[in-house]
């Protein structure tokens, strides 16, 4: 068996059925061996899309996503995708070709030190110098990528190692004595959490992506119900808790729901789970829950106390810890004070529901999201791009299940949403997959229309056309005196014609009701399609300006109850 075949065999052993990639000079040996192999390969049209697709695959399924690129420019094209996965703790394995070992260091054609380049944005990396090491390195990569706090791992395979014969196929040649993620929470700490819960009169829960990654959503629901605490999430925590539940308040943060942002500081206990307190979630730190006791549950010890000082840290896997905590809480009933608080919050939540009903033309983005929500079942997967489109979706779409809302949080990568949807569709072929994009970001990855056509992947791409780089435009409107420097996109392209040139159907939508109708029939047709939705470019999201506290939102927060 040769190195390239060992890569394929090892991937199969890891349960991989599909990889996303793009060939080149230094991966020709691998691709030659792939030719006869029993392994699906999706040929994306830009390597960045391969990394995002692997990432989308991982987030939708919880399994490791795999992407592949050639050396040099192929590898550097993966960088944004690897960085995106790193910031959002998504388990991907990126395999790159490398120039033959004897040429490394010579500035050989298409040589790039991709391990060095990606060092700060990978959890680990390997470069096999011997084909015998390939099975062990791949196994170890999957282990490291998917356990503890997940993240990307890179394997850089020199050309001659792909071609070299293995003496023996063994996958136990690599030990990682320095890698021991903590899983079980300290029971003493868990009992202390119980004490804090008992003392609390106004508890709240803040859930992050860690809850979803740990598959701890049932345990979270049980905890919230047992202690009768309202639940907020971060952007990436959407889906950790059913947002249609009475106890759900929605997203907290820079573009969070008003009820979450307004009331978090009134809580006396915040149970934060699987979350890293990003500045986009907390606003200015000294006015984030200043009088609130904080319990922080996270698998990454480095997140404890990094941004927010906490009263009680519990390090470990969210599911494991919540299971233990729920056990300790067995028989616990919340006090009248707690019930009064939570009832009050529920009333406020209803009062502060954001307005989504409009019949304006040009369409209000809120209404478009509302119609999308109406057309989808809870099983549908929504991916977003970055910008206003992302925040409209995050703010107005109630996500009901984990792994159904997929978005680039930490890195905020424009061009993520559409290729991530491709990955999600490959991971979950039964579920409708809709990606919500801005007209700016979609153009960064529109070549992937060829991919969805070629592989008949019925991904629905919604392009919210506001002819602006809306999010930046909004900042300029609100904070830079309406000086819209370089944020007007002009009239090109015609997105319908663009899609059609790839053989993908497209519909232009301008009126209320059309989005829902088009989406419903698209789901029935089960074909790739682009919905070009023309929206009001002046609509802005309420936001925390930089440096503002969590309850200092600017911009008018329009309420559904004010609709007459």
């Amino acid at each position: 068996m040769r190195g390239g075949e060992a890569i394929i065999e090892s991937l199969k052993n890891m349960g991989v059925k599909t990889i996303f990639g793009y060939p080149g000079g230094q991966t020709i040996p691998f691709y030659d061996m792939l030719y006869d192999a029993d392994m699906d390969h999706i040929l994306v049209r830009h390597e960045q899309a391969a990394a995002h697709a692997a990432d989308g695959y991982a987030r939708a399924s919880g399994r490791v996503g795999v992407c592949l690129a050639t050396s040099g420019p192929g590898a550097t094209n993966l960088v944004t995708g690897i960085g995106t996965a790193y910031m959002d703790s998504s388990p991907i394995v990126a395999i790159t070709g490398q120039v033959p070992t004897h040429l490394i260091g010579n500035d050989a054609f298409q040589e790039a030190d991709i391990i060095g380049i990606t060092m700060p944005i990978t959890k680990h990396s390997y470069q096999p110098k011997d084909p015998d090491l390939i099975p062990s390195m791949i196994k170890s990569s999957f282990e490291i990528a998917s356990t503890g706090r997940p993240g990307p791992v890179l394997i850089d395979v020199p050309k001659e190692v792909q071609e070299g014969e293995l003496t023996e196929f063994r996958d136990d040649l690599i030990q990682t004595p320095g890698y021991n993620p903590t899983v079980k929470g300290n029971i003493k700490q868990i009992k202390k959490a119980f004490d804090l819960i008992k003392e609390s009169k106004r508890p709240m829960i803040l859930a992050g992506a860690g809850v979803i990654i740990a598959n701890a959503c049932c345990e979270l629901k049980k905890l919230a119900e047992t202690i009768n605490a309202p639940v907020m999430t971060s952007l990436l925590g959407k889906g950790a808790f059913d947002e249609t539940d009475d106890l759900a308040l929605g997203m907290l943060g820079m573009h969070g729901r008003k009820v979450s942002n307004d009331y978090i500081n009134e809580s006396d206990l915040l149970i934060a789970i699987g979350i890293r307190f990003s500045d986009r979630t907390t606003g200015r730190l000294d006015s984030f829950a200043p009088d609130t006791k904080i319990i922080h549950i996270d698998i990454d010890p480095a997140e404890i106390g990094k941004n927010v000082d906490v009263d009680l840290p519990i390090v470990g896997d969210a599911r494991n810890i919540l299971e233990s905590l729920n056990k300790v809480l067995d028989g616990y009933a919340p006090s009248n004070d707690v019930n009064d608080w939570t009832n009050m919050i529920k009333v406020k939540k209803q009062e502060l529901l954001p307005r989504v009903s409009y019949d304006d033309v040009p369409l209000k983005p809120q209404t478009v999201i509302k119609e999308i929500a109406e057309a989808l079942t809870p099983e549908a997967i929504l991916t977003t791009d970055v910008g206003q489109n992302q925040m409209w979706a995050a703010h107005f779409f109630d996500t009901q299940k984990p792994r159904k809302f997929i978005s680039s949080g930490g890195l905020g990568t424009m061009g993520f949403g559409f290729p991530a949807a491709i990955g999600a569709k490959v991971a979950c072929p039964e579920d409708p997959v809709v990606s919500i994009n801005g007209d700016g970001g979609f153009l960064m990855v529109c070549q992937e229309l060829a991919t969805v056509r070629e592989y008949d992947l019925p991904v629905i791409a919604v392009v919210l056309e506001n002819r602006t780089l809306g999010m930046v435009y909004q900042w300029q409107s609100l904070l830079y005196n309406n000086r819209h420097s370089q944020t007007l996109l002009g009239n090109s392209p015609d997105f319908v014609k663009l899609a059609e040139s790839f053989g993908v159907n497209a519909v232009r939508i301008t009126e209320p009701g059309e989005t829902k109708e088009a989406l419903s029939s698209a789901i029935k047709d089960n074909e790739p399609i682009l919905l070009n939705v023309v929206i009001d470019s002046e609509e802005a999201l309420p936001m925390l300006p930089p440096g503002a506290g969590i309850n200092e939102m600017i911009g008018e927060y329009k309420l559904e109850k004010d609709v007459i």
Binding site: I115, G116, M119, P120, K123, H124, S125, I144, T176, P177, G178, Y179, D300, P301, A302, I304, G305, K306
Partner: protein, 161 residues
């Protein structure tokens, strides 16, 4: 010594790129490494890295945790309080006249330094000690004119068993 100065001893895998990873992490997280020394340890395939760094309590905690997250880092210990700290320094000093030569050799004696190389115009001196001792010696001989200094940076080991 100022309380923000820390000496961290780490056991790491002896692999290419580990030094880059550790140094890169410090840099990326905004910490200045005072010095970093690496060499083989008592375990085959593992090296010991001694890092001295300025950081407040919170910073030190963060740096330690981030170090721990590196897969190639096996063990970490803050040995600031318990450690014997040593650095090796080579200094080449000018000799303006015979009197200077005698004086420098005398200082070297007092500091238990060794003369490694002698020419008409220069002396090369090897000195080990903690930072303070080395700094003291350097400032003593500075007036003769220092041609070159090479320091290894701190290595350290905890006292006791």
């Amino acid at each position: 010594m100022d309380s923000d100065y820390h000496v961290i001893s780490t056991l790491v895998e002896d692999k290419p790129g580990v030094l880059q990873k550790v140094a890169g992490m410090f840099n990326r997280r905004g910490f200045n490494i005072d010095s970093i020394t690496v060499g083989s340890s008592e375990v085959e395939g593992q090296s010991r890295m001694v890092i001295s760094v300025h950081a407040d309590k919170k910073g030190l905690e963060q740096v330690t945790k981030q170090l721990n997250k590196l897969v190639d880092v096996i063990k970490i210990k803050d040995i600031t309080k318990t450690a014997v700290k040593r650095e090796l320094c080579l200094v080449k000093v000018n000799i303006p006249n015979a009197k200077a030569r005698a004086e420098i050799m005398q200082y070297s004696n007092i500091f238990r330094a060794h003369i490694l190389d002698v020419t008409e115009q220069t002396l090369m001196i090897e000195l080990t000690g903690d930072k303070k001792k080395i700094n003291a010696f350097i400032s003593l001989v500075e007036s003769y004119g220092i041609k070159r200094i090479a320091r290894t940076g701190l290595t350290a080991m905890s006292r006791g068993v």
